[in-house]
């Protein structure tokens, strides 16, 4: 059982370039999330989705876009990379409420914008 898979693990971008961070889960979870982690700041929510075709902004959405065409996949798009987007990005998924409520995280993508 792979859980949540993120690709790539590492990436260096130049200012102004674009890229897509991939995230896939095989647990049939409805809910998926993108977080960014900066030193000393904890994790901040960028975007989330409660099901295919439904996405919404989190706390820090500026400079990012998402789509959710399938239950399994939730890619995060950076259109014009900026140094402020240097961070570690985590994708997570969870199932709706109840005793099994728990978010499962991927291994992260370390992005550097130079």
């Amino acid at each position: 059982n792979a859980g949540v898979t993120q690709t790539p693990k590492f990436r260096i971008l130049k200012i102004g370039q674009s890229m897509t961070l991939q995230c896939a889960q095989d647990m049939n979870h409805n809910y998926m999330y993108w977080y960014r982690q900066d030193p000393g700041m904890g994790l901040k929510l960028i975007y989330y989705s409660v099901g295919a075709g439904i996405t919404d902004k989190g706390e820090v959405p500026n400079g990012y876009n998402v789509s959710r065409s399938t239950t399994e996949d939730f890619p995060l798009r950076l259109e014009l990379a900026a140094p402020s987007q240097t961070s570690v990005y985590f994708c997570a998924s969870s199932s709706p409420g109840g005793v099994n409520t728990e978010a499962f995280f991927g291994q992260g993508t370390r992005l550097t914008v130079v």
């Binding site: 999330y33 904890g42 709706p96 728990e102 995280f105 291994q107 992260g108």
Partner: protein
């Protein structure tokens, strides 16, 4: 909206000593509470969670936490730590009844030495 405060950014402790990592939260609605652990260059792994019922919850690796509603706290404890417990620990909160988005604290670095 919810917020989480982890007052201690770093906690140094000797092996086999007890440890407590503090977490306080703020919310206008009922919440679920979580502790996650992050080992170097890894994703986040769930240690334990409080959804309802007994206020003392036990998790993996010998950790436990107690939910105190009057003090809005969810402190993490372990009676005897091991070198392998060295990691970053995150307290998180979500709105109860849903698998909604997590709000994280800024993390506590637990450093266990001989």
């Amino acid at each position: 909206a919810q917020s989480v405060t982890q007052l201690d950014s770093q906690v140094p402790v000797f092996e086999e000593a007890p440890v407590e990592l503090r977490c306080n939260y703020s919310s206008s609605v009922s919440v679920y509470l979580f502790w996650y652990v992050q080992y170097p260059n890894q994703g986040l792994q769930l240690l334990l969670k409080y959804l309802s019922g007994s206020t003392l919850v036990k998790g993996i690796n010998g950790f436990e936490a107690e939910f105190n509603k009057s003090q809005t706290s969810f402190h993490l404890r372990k009676p005897s730590v091991h070198i392998s417990d060295t990691a970053e620990y995150f307290c998180a909160v979500s709105e109860a009844g849903t698998a909604s988005k997590l709000t994280f604290g800024t993390g506590t670095r637990l450093q266990v030495t001989l």
